[in-house]
Amino acid sequence: MSVSLPLNEEQRDCLQELTNVAMGAAAESLAELTQSFVELPIPVIRCVASSDLVSSFDEIADNLPACVISQNCSVGDVFFRGLMIVGDESINNLANTTKRTLSSEGEHQQLLSELFDTVTKTCFEQLGDMFEIDVERQAAVVQACHILPELFDMNLIVKTPTTIAVEINYKTESNDFDCHLLLLFPDNIFKKLADQLDILLH
């Protein structure tokens, strides 16, 4: 169920442009890692009941086995979570491209972490540059691997009733890889997020 976005149009536009630029910068890092041109859509911003994020995951990963990795972050006093969903098939294709072996679960998770770090490091640095505040990042945590997205326990990620989700689907042009990056803003920081956007706007 979609919930009304608690941002005015100017704030929504600002958040979309900031994430567009930050996620665009991250696409360059992803292109280097995957050795392919990365198709870059417009980030989608929506406010959803946190319990419905799982149904979004079904659509995101076609409900095929996937991995979920996330990281708590903050920009100033705005706390958010970076989260990536990537299908097992895409991880296998990435391993082929980068000539890595995935003979153990440890190697699988290592490649997943490397992928997440490659994308989010650039994305969050760029985001911090635009907010003129460094983005603080805790250690990334692999939340689940080889799981059907519909079975993922969203309570591990979001503990508030509603969430603003900013999502982008990166797809490579030449080697059958795609992953989804989401920035999740829980409802207890909506006001702070709006205030931070207003500072940038005015």
Binding site: D13, N20, V21, G24, A25, I42
Partner: protein, 123 residues
């Protein structure tokens, strides 16, 4: 009457950033477009002799606009301003006829350098 200048970007904030970055003494007549379809129409109406074009937009993206501009021989010098900073994106738009590629977020200095380099405005 100033030079017809088009700023085509789906983001209101980005359009304002470009407009604020233009040299204050440049005699231009600014039109805004919020997607590629509107942008292409404005170019066909002669409002985009100089066009600042985003790539990632709804309805028609910047690549689509560039295709039409150059296949139809429309009168527009296009400068791409985009957050898609992949070197290949840069190469693609240059091959499609864009004059230059500027990385977002834009600022006065970056824009002035490009305008100077192409003799569009001397600051």
């Amino acid at each position: 009457m100033g030079i017809p200048l088009l700023i085509c970007d789906d983001s209101n904030m980005a359009r304002k950033q470009v407009a604020r970055s233009l040299p204050t003494d440049w005699d231009v007549d600014i039109t805004f477009a919020t997607n590629g379809v509107e942008g292409l129409q404005a170019i066909k109406e002669g409002k985009g002799e100089i066009t600042f074009l985003d790539l990632t937009m709804p309805e028609m993206d910047g690549y689509g606009v560039l295709e039409h501009v150059f296949s139809e021989g429309l009168n527009a010098m296009v400068i791409v301003i985009s957050g898609d900073i992949q070197p290949e994106a840069h190469e693609r738009v240059k091959k499609m006829g864009a004059l230059e590629f500027i990385k977002k977020p834009i600022n006065k200095e970056k824009l002035a350098d490009v305008l100077n380099a192409y003799g569009l405005h001397q600051s």
